[in-house]
Amino acid sequence: MADKLTKASIRINTELCKGCYLCKATCPENLIFVSGKLNSKGYYPANYSEEELDIEKHACKGCALCAIVCPDLAIEVYRG
């Protein structure tokens, strides 16, 4: 989980996600994207991956806004 370069991180349980994208709309850093892979419920889940981010410019600050708006408790937030 720990990443040297980030002070915070989120983990999205893509199986719980129902694709409402409220998190994506809420993230002030625009770090959440829509996965191209359907989950078993049949939704394209929201996703977050540090590999795909330019963390020099955008990094998760651990504000937890995405988790706060997520109706499905799919997001956990971690801070270093």
Binding site: M1, A2, A8, S9, L16, K18, G19, C20, Y21, L22, A25, T26, Y43, G62, A64, L65, A67, I68, V69, C70, P71, D72, L73, I75, E76, V77, Y78, R79, G80
Partner: protein, 248 residues
């Protein structure tokens, strides 16, 4: 790194059955967070409604007893009168509380029952497929108000919380919303205050929460939240409707 946000302890590890973007599950989580923070998981008893939240007992890891449609306040009254040192809450939709259960709610408030009511106002009968609720806005579409709610035929949306504020036994009544992070955070504070009002034995407390029903509003979850922001809060203003907590 340390987990700073996750599933509250007093929620079961169950997937919600609610539609994408539904406010019910956010409100469930807030209640559970408050239960955890107040340390009352072993002392609280919940009363779920008939409505989309009928299965709330599958999510809360606390004792729960089902009420018939609209009778939450009366069932909660029975539980609380029997166990005065427990915390009792009813969870009710707008149809449940403001149509079929109006009488039970007003009288429980007026008796000053030491219960807390979470009133989820989504302006529609969600569970039965989107019929007009007592809170449906004038002009708002529903399956029984095609073309929009008409005053001449359907009357006004009901301001139940304001009516409850008139009741002498109510102590704390606030209308909040869950359409944005800020409002969600505030709603949690209101729920906490409502439970504390009960714990301190002050009287009846209620939080009315404006909540999106994207499915029956036929909007995307994002649009549904925008609709609350642009339109619903003009009709149901967010405010502390009654607060006598400090005065008692």
């Amino acid at each position: 790194m340390k987990k700073v946000f996750g599933r509250p302890k007093s929620m079961k590890a169950a997937e919600f059955h609610y539609c994408p973007g539904c406010g019910h599950s956010i409100i469930h989580r807030l209640i559970a967070e408050v239960i955890d923070e107040l340390g009352i998981q072993e002392k609280i008893i919940g009363v779920p409604p008939a409505g989309c939240a009928v299965l709330a007992y599958n999510y809360f890891d606390v004792d729960m007893g089902e009420a018939p449609h609209g009778r939450g306040a009366a069932v909660a009254t029975g539980i609380k009168r029997s166990l005065p040192d427990r915390i009792v809450f009813s969870y009710q939709g707008d149809g449940d509380i403001a149509a079929i259960g109006t009488a039970e709610t007003i009288h429980a408030a007026n008796r000053g029952e030491l219960i807390t009511t979470i009133f989820v106002n989504n302006g529609v009968y969600g569970m039965t497929g989107g019929q007009m609720a007592p809170t449906t806005l004038v002009g708002q579409d529903s399956t029984t108000t095609p073309g929009g709610r008409r005053l001449e035929r359907d009357g006004f949306p009901i301001d139940l919380s304001e009516m409850l504020a008139i009741a002498h036994g109510s102590v704390y009544i606030e209308r909040t919303s869950v359409h944005s992070p800020k409002h969600i955070i505030h709603t949690k504070k209101a729920i906490k205050k409502a439970f504390k009002t009960q714990i301190e034995g002050l009287g009846f407390s209620l939080v009315e929460i404006l909540s999106p029903c994207p499915t029956n509003w036929k909007m995307s979850p994002i649009k549904a939240n925008e609709f609350i922001n642009s339109t619903i809060i003009k009709n149901f203003p967010l405010k502390v409707i009654k607060d006598e907590v400090g005065k008692l």
